[in-house]
């Protein structure tokens, strides 16, 4: 009997842990109303393709369009980067006020495959960043986004990446403004940006 109640308590604890874990894991990425909650200021310090450390501080005064992805991603990442490229073209003379940034969540492989030729192929304005594992984790945490490596024998090198596919808008003061969910069209992103410029 005594053992039974222990078991019940353990089951309750395990269930609570699962619920807590799920909440922590899913809450940030599903939250479209982050801007309504207390404002936060994401930050990163990550190497660009030439090894220079780039930080959020150097982009104050500009809007940032930040996307986390990996260059071996055949479907989601090219779709979003194509939208970003279209937005940059359509901004015309205002493009100088917006810095698009691609942050690799698969930095070691992306550095090896070449980061700059990838981002440039979409648009020369896109800055590709690939830091260490620790720096990448820290950047993702500050944006409240999720990513993880998934073992997959049917993928190149035996793994693929699961990640938050949103596009994040940061204001000239460095504060988080909003997320554009995956699939938001270039004209929608453009009109949002134009209303702020």
């Amino acid at each position: 009997m005594r053992l039974r109640s222990h078991q019940i308590i353990l089951w309750i604890a395990a269930t609570a842990a699962v619920i807590t874990f799920s909440a922590v894991r899913w809450w940030p990425a599903t939250d479209d109303t982050a801007a309504v909650d207390s404002a936060f200021t994401p930050s990163f310090a990550l190497a660009d393709s030439e090894g220079r450390i780039r930080t959020t501080a150097e982009f104050r005064g500009k809007f940032l369009l930040v996307f986390f992805g990996f260059t071996s991603c055949p479907d989601v990442c090219p779709t979003t980067l194509s939208e970003v490229a279209q937005v940059m073209d359509d901004l015309g003379s205002a493009a100088g006020s917006v810095q698009p940034i691609f942050i690799s969540i698969d930095p070691e492989r992306d550095r090896r495959l070449g980061l700059a030729d990838y981002t440039t192929a979409f648009h020369p304005a896109i800055l590709g960043l690939a830091g260490s594992e620790e720096e990448t984790k820290s950047a993702a945490a500050s944006f409240k986004i999720f990513y993880e490596q998934e073992a997959d024998t049917s993928s190149p090198d035996g793994y693929t990446m699961a990640h938050s596919p949103g596009l994040y808008l940061i204001g000239p003061d460095g504060a988080w403004l909003r997320q554009f969910t995956y699939g938001t069209s270039a004209p929608e992103i453009l009109s949002d940006l134009q209303s702020r410029l």
């Binding site: 990425a29 260059t71 479907d75 989601v76 490229a85 192929a121 979409f122 699961a162 596919p165």
Partner: protein, 157 residues
Amino acid sequence: MKHFLLATALVLSAPAAMACETVTIGDLTVEHAWSKVTIGAGRPGVFYVEIKNTGTSDDALVGIATPAAGMPMLHETVVQDGIASMPHAMSIPVPAGQSVQLAPGGYHGMLMGLTTALKEGDSFPVTLSFEKAGEVTVNVVVLSLRAEGPDCADAGQ
């Protein structure tokens, strides 16, 4: 020999209109086969297509093969609870009387182990294997990075 065939296939660059070709096998119609430019050969390419089943029995796409890539596989982009992942699709249902699209953000062929980088205007064959209808080969046109699909708006074609 394989390389020679591939080179021949790629040299025979086709106009984008080729993506508007329609191939049929049994009750299945396969059209709008396209791919996107890749940045180098070290990253996987992608394969999109539309399949229409005009028959009365369900079928399923169970595999793809192409001389352009050593390891082509079917995948599905799934965005669940704000996280995108890309599980391997063992088979893609093509129900009776319905159309299925392999399109950005959903089912797609992932072309791993590309023999050569895919360039805009190139074309290469992909053989689709269906559970019941068997195999059919389509020509796949490589469109630009920003393409959202072939432009086949002209109903007369």
